[in-house]
């Protein structure tokens, strides 16, 4: 069999990802998280009299609390398989990556397992976020003073 024929065969046999459905599901789950976030912020702002900044802080904590709890209870992995980037792109994905690494490696010991693998997945987000912010601040200092 020629290489190109083989490639065609692989393409034919491998299961097709329903791309359009994935995008729509991600759109609705992500949008739903944004909507719930907006409801929580309005609620905290109006009912508890918190400022927008304080309400945003509490919102971040609530989202992180719920998603780490759901990860620990074992629901989150199933939801990610269905909703995909609708749950990965919001802060829920960041919290999920830390919580699942913590749960997975806990049995290897508190230091060598949990401690050293804690930021295994979320480390890249923090690393590249800090590095890019640092470079951009330096650029802004040079050009804008």
């Amino acid at each position: 069999m020629k290489k190109e024929d083989y490639k065609k065969l692989v393409k034919k046999v491998s299961p097709k990802e329903p791309k359009l459905r994935n995008v729509l599901v991600a759109f609705f789950t992500g949008g739903l998280i944004g909507l719930i976030g907006q409801i929580i912020i309005t609620l905290l702002n109006v009912s508890f009299g918190l400022s927008k900044v304080e309400a945003g802080g509490w919102l971040a904590l609530i989202i992180i609390f719920v998603s780490t709890l759901m990860t620990a209870l074992g629901f989150f992995d199933k939801w990610v398989t269905t909703c995909k980037s609708g749950l990965i792109v919001p802060t829920t994905g960041f919290a999920h990556s830390v919580a699942s690494a913590a749960l997975d490696y806990r049995n290897d010991g508190l230091i060598t397992g949990l401690g050293s693998n804690f930021f295994k997945l979320a480390g890249s987000v923090i690393l590249y976020g800090v590095i890019s912010s640092f470079i951009l601040v330096i650029v802004k200092v040079i050009f804008c003073g």
């Binding site: 995008v23 995909k84 960041f94 800090v130």
Partner: protein, 116 residues
């Protein structure tokens, strides 16, 4: 109206992430890192505050906001304390997210047993 805008913005960003995931070989780790860097760049251009004021929670729940918090607090630190402020200020705003993730993940990892 603000609810609809929050829904649309968060939805579009997540759909964009899904399009990248489906059509390239990038993993979720790549996509989240990419969006964080993107958020820092938007913050650098001065767009992110505009996004937050228009789309509210839609702009704050996505991971790009993490990059925005890092950049804006580092810049704030520079304005207040100079070069040293970049280092001391970097995590000021994102401290809530990072400390929250560490505390809750640790507690739940100790309490719950992993399911397979």
């Amino acid at each position: 109206m603000s609810y609809l805008l929050a829904f649309l913005f968060a939805g579009v960003v997540c759909a964009l992430g899904q399009i990248i995931l489906d059509n390239t070989k990038l993993t979720p780790g790549h996509v989240t890192s990419l969006f964080t860097v993107g958020g820092a760049i938007l913050s650098f251009c001065g767009c992110y505050d505009y996004l937050i004021s228009h789309f509210g929670a839609g702009a704050t729940v996505v991971i790009a906001n993490f990059g925005h918090m890092l950049f804006s607090s580092a810049w704030q630190g520079y304005l207040e304390e100079g070069i040293l402020g970049i280092f001391s200020g970097m995590f000021v705003k994102s401290s809530i997210a990072i400390t929250g993730v560490i505390v809750f993940s640790f507690i739940f990892a100790i309490i719950f047993k992993p399911k397979d």
